[in-house]
């Protein structure tokens, strides 16, 4: 009885959590659109990434939420901030675009969002589980444990898993080669007696 009462309380808090996280995600995304300085865009992106990770927690995908935090927030965002620091003399630089181009960009973004909203609502209305809420699926949802993910990764998704590994190796070598730049390449070629082309 007490446990059922607690579960009822927990399911009542789910909408509050959803709207809080959704507000955070939308705020971060709007901040990315409207801020002109690249460092502030990166910080707004941090809010959206964190809110999406919280959404994964809400959807019961805890492992994916952890991966989102580790890879995106801990890896990609740090990489972006390093890129900002390496490519800008003034980190608060801003590049303005003509007003009509900005208007066109916002209009296309708005139209795209509206199209996806209508399509999503149509899909959700047409699906058999449209009446299901996240509270109702909570008891039937088996926990998406790491066990199932690992087993699926080594059986059903074996080939994509291996290809992703090879891709990461190629990307590592390629990024190091591309980022080396031209003049350093010329220096090493002239001083070290590199391959004669």
């Amino acid at each position: 009885m007490i446990l059922a009462q607690q579960i009822n309380d927990l399911s009542g808090i789910v909408p509050l959590l959803f709207y809080g996280f959704a507000a955070l995600a939308v705020l971060g995304a709007l901040g990315v659109v409207f801020s002109q300085q690249i460092v502030r865009m990166a910080i707004w992106l941090l809010f959206t990434l964190g809110a999406v990770a919280l959404m994964y927690f809400l959807l019961g995908a805890e492992f994916l939420a952890a991966i989102q935090l580790v890879v995106y927030v801990g890896g990609t965002l740090i990489l972006i901030i390093f890129g900002v620091m390496l490519t800008s003399k003034n980190p608060f630089t801003s590049l303005d675009i003509p007003p009509y181009e900005r208007f066109i960009g916002w209009a296309v973004g708005l139209i795209g969002a509206a199209l996806m909203v209508f399509t999503g609502l149509a899909v959700a209305a047409g699906s058999a589980t449209s009446s299901q809420t996240i509270q109702e699926t909570a008891d039937t949802a088996a926990s998406f444990g790491v066990t199932e993910l690992g087993r699926s990764m080594l059986t059903k998704y074996m080939i994509p898993f291996e290809v992703a590994g090879v891709l990461l190796l190629v990307v590592m070598i390629g990024a190091a080669y591309i980022a080396k730049g031209r003049h350093e390449q010329a220096d090493s070629g002239s001083s070290g007696g590199g391959p004669t082309a």
């Binding site: 789910v14 675009i97 990461l168």
Partner: protein, 119 residues
């Protein structure tokens, strides 16, 4: 109206993902900074990932595929989202390497100046 607001379903997640996607698209279109465009692409990929995870939860809801006690829950949407995260990390690394090279050649990351290949 009250039930539509208080019972969180699939459509709520789809609408949120659509808004984030629109913001990402507008970012890609309105920024001249190459790193800003990369940030917009990350927003778009996150919106797609949120869609996949929500569909995985609500279309199968973790209900085991097939009957039997040893049936496994469906994790296909989660696997797609995982591979997208891997590809996004790889894409960010390559894009930043290209941006660094661009900055070395042009002393700027304004994409308007990258018109060397224009015919």
């Amino acid at each position: 109206m009250t039930t539509a607001l208080t019972s969180i379903g699939l459509s709520h997640f789809l609408v949120l993902s659509a808004i984030v996607f629109g913001c990402g698209l507008a970012t890609v279109l309105t920024k001249r900074n190459a790193i800003g465009i990369l940030i917009g692409v990350e927003l778009i990929l996150n919106a797609a990932n949120l869609n996949l995870v929500a569909f995985n939860r609500f279309s199968w809801g973790g209900v085991p595929v097939g009957a039997g006690t040893d049936a496994v829950p469906a994790v296909d949407g989660l696997m797609f989202a995982l591979f997208i995260i891997v590809l996004a990390a790889a894409e960010a690394a390559i894009a930043l390497a290209i941006i660094l090279n661009f900055y070395n050649n042009f002393a700027s990351i304004d994409v308007e100046r990258g018109s060397t290949l224009r015919g």
